[in-house]
C-alpha cells in the first residue's frame, strides 16, 4: 500500500496535477507519524508513511489548505471520507481543489494498548500477518493485531468510501452490525446515579487541553466560544468542578448531527476519556427519534436537528413516555 500511495503521489506532483499532497510523515518511533503537506517528490520518497499506525484523519487540514488555493491531493481512509463530505456540506472546503485518493484501511493499531501490555522500550514494530512483532530493548513480543487495535477500528462503521476520485486498494461495505452503540446501550441501562458516577469519573480527568476540540473536523468555527475571553468562560480552566463536564456536553450538542463518529476526539485525548460515547449517545438518540441518519454519508441531506418534518417527534414527550418514541 505505502509504495503504491507514495508512487501515485509522486506521479501527481511531478505531472503538475496537484501542487501538494496531504499525507503522513514518518515519526521518531516505529509507531508515530505526523500529518504533513508534501510539496516535494524527494520528501515524499524519503518520509511518506502509511502503515498500521497512520491514524490521524487528514480531512480537517484541508480547511486551512483550501484557503491557500492551488490543487491538492489527499489520502482518506473510509472513516475520513465521512468527515470530508461533512466539511463539504458545511462549505468549509472547496471540492474542486481537492483530488481525493480513497485508501483501503484494515484498522489502525493503538500504541497505548501495546504499552498497556507492559511493553516498553520499543525500538521496532513489524507486521507479520495477523500479528505484530514488537521489538524492544527488553526483548521481542508478539501479539495479535486485533488485541491492540484502536477502539474506533474495532467498531468500524464502514469500510466503504463515501467519496473518492480514485482508489488505492479496495473499498468495502458499510457495517450496520459493527456494535458501536453497544457501550452506549450499557450506559443507558445504568441507573441515573451510576451513569452520573461513570461520567464524573471519566470527565473529571479532563485537563482542558482542547485537543479533542482542535482535532475535530466538525469543530471548524473561526473562533470557538471557549476561546473568546469576552464570553465570560475560560477555555483552559474549569471554574467549578462541574465545568469540564459542561464543556463536553456543550461540544457534544454543537456537533450533534454533524459528528460523523470519526473517533479522532477519543484518539487524541491525553487522558484517555471515551468522548466517542457522548457523541454516539447523540447519534443513537437521533437515529431512534428521527430515523437513521449518518453524518457525512452525502453532501446534501439535512441533518435531523436542522430539518423539520410534520411528523417529527417531540423529545420532551418521548422523555415523558420513558424514552420510547
Amino acid at each position: 500500500m505505502q509504495e503504491l500511495m507514495k508512487n501515485r503521489a509522486i506521479e501527481l506532483l511531478s505531472a503538475g496535477e496537484v501542487d501538494r499532497v496531504v499525507g503522513w510523515k514518518k515519526g521518531e518511533f516505529a509507531y508515530d507519524c505526523t500529518p504533513a503537506i508534501f510539496t516535494d517528490a524527494n520528501d515524499l520518497r524519503d518520509n511518506f508513511v502509511y502503515d498500521d499506525f497512520t491514524a490521524p484523519n487528514l480531512s480537517k487540514y484541508l480547511v486551512a489548505e483550501c484557503k491557500k488555493g492551488g490543487k491538492m491531493a489527499v489520502f482518506l481512509k473510509p472513516c475520513d471520507t465521512y468527515s470530508f463530505n461533512q466539511l463539504q456540506k458545511e462549505h468549509r472546503i472547496k471540492r474542486e481543489l481537492i483530488h481525493v485518493i480513497g485508501i483501503e484501511c484494515n484498522g489502525k493499531a493503538d500504541v497505548d494498548k501495546i504499552k498497556a501490555r507492559g511493553v516498553d522500550g520499543i525500538t521496532g514494530i513489524t507486521s507479520e500477518g495477523a500479528n505484530f512483532v514488537v521489538e524492544t530493548i527488553y526483548g521481542n513480543e508478539t501479539m495479535p493485531k486485533y488485541e491492540v487495535m484502536a477502539e474506533r477500528c474495532l467498531t468500524c462503521k464502514s469500510k466503504k468510501h463515501m467519496v473518492y476520485d480514485e482508489l488505492i486498494g479496495e473499498t468495502g461495505d458499510v457495517n450496520p452490525d459493527c456494535g458501536r452503540f453497544d457501550m452506549v446501550a450499557k450506559l443507558e441501562a445504568m441507573t441515573p446515579d451510576e451513569r452520573f458516577a461513570f461520567w464524573r469519573g471519566e470527565l473529571s480527568r479532563c485537563i482542558r487541553c482542547n485537543a479533542c476540540r482542535n482535532v475535530c473536523p466538525a469543530c471548524t468555527c473561526e473562533q470557538c466560544v471557549f476561546d473568546n475571553p469576552n464570553s465570560g468562560i475560560q477555555q483552559k480552566v474549569a471554574v467549578t468542578s462541574f465545568e469540564e463536564n459542561m464543556f463536553h456536553i456543550i461540544r457534544a450538542y454543537h456537533v450533534a448531527g454533524r459528528c460523523t463518529d470519526c473517533g479522532e476526539c477519543s484518539r487524541v485525548c491525553p487522558q484517555s476519556i471515551p468522548l466517542h460515547l457522548l457523541n454516539r449517545k447523540f447519534i443513537k438518540d437521533m437515529n431512534e427519534l428521527y430515523g437513521e441518519y449518518q453524518a457525512g454519508e452525502d453532501t446534501t441531506s439535512r441533518a435531523p436537528l436542522t430539518n423539520y418534518n410534520m411528523d417529527d417527534c417531540e423529545p420532551s414527550i418521548v422523555h415523558e413516555r420513558g424514552g420510547k418514541a
Binding site: 521518531e28 507519524c33 485537563i207 487541553c209 482542547n210 473562533q223 476561546d227 483552559k236 471554574v239 491525553p270
Partner: protein
C-alpha cells in the same frame, strides 16, 4: 543507606500517612496517577504518571484573592490557606529535576508565596527507574535515572526498598519511620544502578545531543527556516504544555460574582491563541510563532536566563501525548543541524 523489606512497604506507608498526607502513583483503569494513600491503596511501579508531580506545587487552577464590595468599600480577602505538610512518594528522576526548574521561576524575586508555601510543606521521595521507555531522554539533560534527586531517594532492589536522605527534610521523615528501617550496605543498589545504566545505553534518545542549543544561538534558532514546516500540523491544543512538568505559564483572571470579584489563576499554554494577549492585542498571531515560543523557551530562553540549564527534563510525556506526534525531540533533531 536504610532499607525496609518490601513485605513491610504497607507499614511504611501507614507510618508516614499517620503523620501527614501521603500521595503516591496508583494504577487506574486509564494509566497511573498520584492518589492519596489510605489503607488498601497499592503503590504502582509503572514507569511514570499521566500527569506530572508538578500539580502538587503548581495546581492547574487556584483562587488567589477575593474582593467583596459593600456600598463604597471594597474588602480584599486573602483566600490562602496555609498548606499542610505532605509527602509525595515515587517521583521519577525527570520530574524531580522539574522542581528545580520551577523553583528558578517561582522562588526568584518576587517569590510566589503560593508555590513557596507548598514547596516548604512538601517532602519529595523519589524512586530510581529500572525499566525506562523509548520516550525517555532524561540523560540528554544530565539527569541520572538511577540516582533521582529529592529529599529522599529510593530504590527497589532485591526484596527491599532502599532509602537515602539527601536533605534535612528527608532526614526528618526517615527519623519518623526509624523503627521500620534497618541499615543496609549499598551493594544491591549499586548492582541495580550498573544494570540500568546498561539498559539506558540501548535507548534511542538518552544521548540526544544538546550542544546545538548552547551558547549564543538565540537569533540563529529564532530565525530558522524550519519552524513553519515543524509546526505545520500542530493543532494548537495545549496537550504538550499541560502534561509537561516544567511548563510554568499561567493566566490570571477575574470573575464577577455579582457582589464582588474572584481572582484566580490557571495554567496557560503558549500554544493557545489568547496567550499573552494584552490591551493592544496579541504578540504572536500565528501558530508558527506560538509553536516556536514553546521550544525556544525550553531550549534557548530558559537556559540563557538560568546558567545554561535547559527547561526540559526529558520525561517524554509530550512525545507520547501529542495528537500529531510533533515534539521537542523532533525540534531538537531538526534544528540541531542548523548550527555553523
Amino acid at each position: 543507606m536504610k532499607k525496609i523489606a518490601l513485605s513491610k512497604l504497607n507499614d511504611f506507608f501507614a507510618a508516614i500517612a499517620a503523620e501527614e498526607k501521603l500521595y503516591l502513583p496508583v494504577d487506574g483503569e486509564k494509566g497511573t496517577d498520584y492518589k492519596l494513600w489510605s489503607e488498601g491503596v497499592t503503590y504502582s511501579r509503572a514507569l511514570n504518571t499521566n500527569r506530572s508531580a508538578k500539580d502538587f506545587f503548581f495546581p492547574q487552577t487556584e483562587n488567589i484573592v477575593d474582593f467583596k464590595r459593600e456600598g463604597k468599600t471594597i474588602e480584599v480577602i486573602d483566600t490562602r490557606t496555609e498548606a499542610e505538610d505532605f509527602v509525595v512518594f515515587g517521583v521519577r528522576a525527570c520530574d524531580a529535576r522539574s522542581f528545580g526548574i520551577l523553583d528558578k521561576v517561582f522562588l526568584a524575586d518576587p517569590v510566589d508565596s503560593f508555590y513557596a508555601s507548598r514547596r516548604a510543606h512538601g517532602t519529595i521521595v523519589t524512586m530510581a527507574c529500572t525499566r525506562p521507555a523509548e520516550t525517555c531522554f532524561c540523560g540528554a539533560f544530565g539527569i541520572d535515572m538511577t540516582a533521582p534527586e529529592g529529599d529522599i531517594s529510593c530504590w527497589i532492589a532485591e526484596d527491599a526498598l532502599w532509602l537515602s536522605a539527601n536533605t534535612e527534610k528527608g532526614e526528618a521523615l526517615l527519623n519518623k519511620v526509624a523503627s521500620l528501617t534497618e541499615e543496609g550496605d549499598t551493594a544491591a543498589v549499586d548492582a541495580q544502578k550498573a544494570a540500568v545504566k546498561e539498559i539506558a545505553k540501548k535507548l534511542p534518545l538518552q544521548n540526544l545531543p544538546t550542544d546545538a542549543f548552547k551558547g549564543d544561538v538565540l537569533l540563529e534558532k529564532f530565525n530558522s527556516a524550519k519552524w513553519p514546516e515543524l509546526s505545520k500540523a500542530c493543532l494548537g491544543c495545549g496537550t504538550c504544555t499541560f502534561v509537561c512538568p516544567t511548563c510554568q505559564c499561567y493566566d490570571v483572571f477575574d470573575f464577577d460574582t455579582g457582589h464582588g470579584v474572584k481572582r484566580a489563576r490557571c495554567w496557560d499554554s503558549c500554544m493557545y491563541s489568547d496567550f499573552t494577549k494584552m490591551a493592544h492585542g496579541n504578540s504572536r498571531n500565528s501558530q508558527v510563532e506560538r509553536f516556536r515560543q514553546r521550544f525556544m523557551h525550553k531550549l534557548v530562553y530558559f537556559p540563557m536566563n538560568n546558567g545554561g540549564e535547559f527547561g526540559c527534563v526529558g520525561c517524554g510525556r509530550c512525545l507520547s501525548k501529542c495528537p500529531i506526534n510533533m515534539n521537542i525531540v523532533k525540534v531538537m533533531k531538526s534544528l540541531g543541524g542548523d548550527a555553523e
